[in-house]
Symmetry: C2
Subunit: 581 residues, 2 copies
């Protein structure tokens, strides 16, 4: 690869590059000149340096690039086939045709050093520097780390209760009723309190009452040229009915097929399980007792692989559905992935708990699934990319040295290095992992009280490994303003509703409770169902009554609005009285 | 009472009065002069006549009166005890101390004639003139009549299915499963479609994306003088903790006590019921078979009386809770009234259905309750006020004639007449009645298919009697802009959730379904519960997936916002480039 820095004529030392655009190797010179002119056209007014953080400047640059629109050009200069029409986003056209390979913000070495020191390099018991993270990476990522921290802290009481439970009641499978009640309350309160924390963070960062920007069509969206009914601009139009057909005739059946496959794999796992138990029963020694765990471990690995493969399929399908907006694409992707991952991870546990009603097997399965998936996750998420990154870094360093000799060329080197880094694909996978962990804990931790302890341990290392990978494994991502964790709040809330139902059912199944109704199962079931309905109603009332935004922030927001209204009134009245010059 | 029209010096014939302020008989002259001067102060710019409808002008006048604030006056002239402080609402102070008795908008005789003709005077099968109603009474009331109409139409299919059901399956108590399933789907779809209808109406009237105006403290709110943290103005402040104490230590126990009383009355009713059945069994003839209905009728009347008494108590208590905002007052009042009315009206039906499991008694009770309460309602709501009004009108006419001789003085006469008319207290009672009817239909109509027919008949007369009472029995109310039916949407949705649960339980109890599980009740219950959970989940997903605002309105709103954004951008850029003169 040849490296041409278009800024090489200006003074490199005093210049802090923010964003890198990587063009294809064989890009025509005239196209480059044209693009630079067009970008500089937009640059007239310049940013107020120092006033905005790096991350904000980068966000603005991204916005400016994304809204760079063709005027009268019929095609990209040098590329007669890359047709343009007035209003078409230039960057998207270049990107979709492979001329512009990528554009990404550059790391700021000094800020990064400072951030990573306060974040994960010193061993500390203090909280994460969320404001610094937000300053460097933007609100979206800072909210993720805020959530991770909050979730971990919220699990501590559960872990503390879980340890003695685990140590002293290990053989006493019946005593889980109290723990199930605790889980049930915990999972409801957890999310309500988070909403308030999230509002407090977002208020502090000024994004709480942010209006959604007008959304442009996503890069991959295609269709016949038509008119947007809202903007009146020319843009590709794709009939919604066609998309619906694709969703209901292809995507939905595909998801159902995958779910069936997942069930099939589950049944194979149960066959393996029985086979292992039989061998153990025939010949109980250490070797066969270890064998008991093998089916679960294999199943856990298979689950992770299936999740991974499905993820690619879901992305492909959702892309093919041709959604106009990024948000709609994301919603459909999240829905597809969540449904499958939920079934894939939890179906076997539900089956063991409610069809087989075997609490010993449930406990063993849960433990193996949880531990195996955590280990796999840490490896796949942090160690593997880190190791690949190191190998790549070394190669790049070597090549740079061969190319430049011993001359220092920090900027060019940095760009070269970061260009080859992996791209961070957003917080999707990180939230998904937390979602599944939340599921394990809130659904079934009453039969395996150590689950919370394991998740706390996992999340502590997760903070470090996520922090490390953000700073050193991935390209710096563009910062994205966010006022909350978006669709994930809904996903976690749905899980907490399922948790109420599940825990009520587990309580109903417990021998302890059953002992109260020795004669009639009917009465027991009716009472459990009644309690469950009351709890669900209570949960909804609670969610409704607890304000999502703390009182003092509500007052501040109201004050802001009142002041702006008063100012508007004054302006209007002076306008009427004096007729502005 | 002496009548002094302060406009009597201007030309009466060309002047259309909009709003009447009734001051106390012994109001000091200097206070009147001061108040008129202060009001005229505000009037400088005048309204663009013809541009706004009467109702809108009246709304503006009300707003102007409500925001008439004291400047430097220490007290109301002539009333040294009526203290004022800068920023205090003048009208509220006058009102709370009984100087200003009331202020209300006047009817416009010609518009009213036209409206009432197209609304209820001609016998027609066409829809109500919602746009005209909105024009004369404002959006809040028009939405109520829109809802009433929509509800009635939505019930027609149910009534049509109900009639043959009632005629041919009357003795066959088992065949209600299908009807229960229909109810279940109907109650969900009903509310989702209404949301879209309501959005369409509100969009047409321009109130759909209306921002809530800044809310002033309500008239009855009192407390030590302090500073409002939002506006910085001096105003009464009442600590929220004290209010919470009043709510939880007085209001909640009182409501619970009333609920207990309601249960007690229910038990007395059952005793009466058994006593009547015993008499009938001992000596079955026509007299005793009529006696069978007497307990239900008495109970229905007692329920209505208890609802009425409770209503007064709830208003008193909520007022005493001293809420700062009218909206918060309304929410607490609605909650109190709804909980009690729901229990009072439906507890006996639930008891009969699920504890006694006596479907024959349930049907009989439901029929008697429904018919009795409808008759009572129509009497209390329309005929009684109408009759009282006619008596009062005659008296006023007689007195006017005695006072003025035979001289025509239409304006003074109209003011005099309308002053003594009852005040319309808002749509609360009307919605409450519809809410209870919705409950009867969606909860239990499967065992008494004629319920929908009765409700349809009731609502047809309701439209006429409500229309009549709005036009001729009550003072014209101030129009109130509204974008939807507010808290009632939530109330109806809650009822529809209860309807799903109830109908599932009724299905589970039906002999038809029970026949499929001859051996085990347990299995039946588990299956019914599972189906109920799936239905509830489906209901929530449906509510989430169906957009509340129809597509074409969404596009129009987006276009509006886009255009205003573009206009803002242009304004900002010309500002930057040219530096406005």
């Amino acid at each position: 690869m040849q490296l041409g820095l278009s800024v090489s004529d200006s003074d490199v030392s005093s210049f802090t590059p923010l964003v890198v655009l990587e063009l294809a190797d064989d890009t025509k010179a005239e196209a480059i000149t044209w693009l630079l002119n067009r970008i500089r056209d937009k640059q007239q007014n310049g940013d107020g340096e120092g006033f905005l953080s790096d991350a904000e400047c980068q966000y603005i640059i991204k916005h400016e690039l994304d809204t760079l629109r063709a005027k009268n050009e019929e095609h990209v200069p040098g590329y007669p086939k890359l047709k343009l029409y007035p209003g078409k986003s230039v960057v998207r056209r270049l990107q979709s045709k492979g001329v512009l390979i990528q554009y990404f913000p550059l790391h700021n070495k000094e800020d990064l050093k400072r951030l990573s020191f306060s974040w994960y390099k010193k061993f500390k018991l203090s909280l994460q520097p969320l404001d610094d993270i937000r300053h460097y990476f933007g609100e979206g990522l800072a909210l993720y780390f805020g959530f991770l921290e909050y979730f971990t802290f919220a699990l501590v009481p559960m872990a503390l209760i879980g340890i003695p439970y685990y140590l002293f009641d290990w053989e006493d499978y019946d005593k889980y009723v109290l723990f199930a009640v605790f889980n049930l309350v915990w999972s409801t309160v957890f999310l309500e309190v988070w909403k308030r924390c999230s509002a407090t963070l977002a208020y502090g960062w000024g994004t709480l009452s942010r209006k959604k920007a007008f959304e442009e069509p996503r890069a991959g969206f295609h269709g016949a040229l038509g008119f947007n009914p809202v903007t009146g601009r020319e843009e590709p139009v794709y009939p919604s009915s066609k998309r619906q057909l694709r969703i209901y005739l292809v995507s939905v059946p595909f998801v159902l097929l995958c779910l069936y496959l997942s069930f099939y794999v589950m049944m194979v796992y149960f066959d393996m399980e029985f086979w292992a138990i039989n061998i153990y029963n025939e010949n109980p020694d250490i070797a066969t007792s270890i064998l008991l765990f093998v089916p679960s471990i294999i199943y856990a690995v298979v689950i992770e692989i299936m999740n991974l493969l499905y993820r690619f399929a879901a992305e492909f399908l959702t892309d093919w559905e041709n959604h106009r907006l990024e948000s709609s694409f994301q919603n459909h992707l999240v829905l597809k992935v969540l449904v499958f991952n939920f079934v894939n991870c939890f179906a076997s546990l539900f089956y063991i708990a409610f069809v087989m009603q075997d609490m010993v097997l449930l406990r063993q399965s849960l433990a193996t699934l949880l531990i195996t998936s955590q280990i796999l996750n840490q490896v796949m998420e942090a160690f593997l990319p880190y190791w690949l990154q190191r190998r790549r870094n070394k190669k790049v360093h070597k090549r740079m040295r061969r190319l430049m000799g011993d001359k220092e060329l920090p900027l060019l080197g940095q760009v070269q290095l970061e260009t080859e880094m992996n791209t961070y694909l957003g917080t999707f996978d990180d939230y998904l992992e937390q979602f599944l962990l939340f599921g394990y804990v809130s659904l079934f931790s009453c039969v395996y009280p150590l689950a919370a302890v394991l998740v706390v341990l996992n999340n502590i290392t997760e903070v470090y490994s996520d922090a490390f990978k953000m700073c050193h494994v991935f390209k710096r991502p563009f910062s994205e303003p966010a006022m909350n964790i978006g669709v994930w709040q809904l996903a976690f809330e749905t899980m907490s509703i399922i948790a109420v139902v599940t825990n009520c059912a587990l309580i109903g199944l417990s021998p302890q409770v059953k002992a109260y109704f020795p004669e009639s199962d009917t009465q027991l079931i009716l009472i459990v169902v009644a309690i469950e309905h009351v709890l669900l109603a209570f949960k909804f009332i609670l969610a409704f009554v607890i304000p999502d935004v703390p009182k003092h922030i509500q007052v501040n927001l109201a004050k802001l609005e009142f002041d702006s209204l008063e100012a508007l009134k004054k302006r209007v009245s002076t306008h009427f009285l004096k007729k502005e010059p």
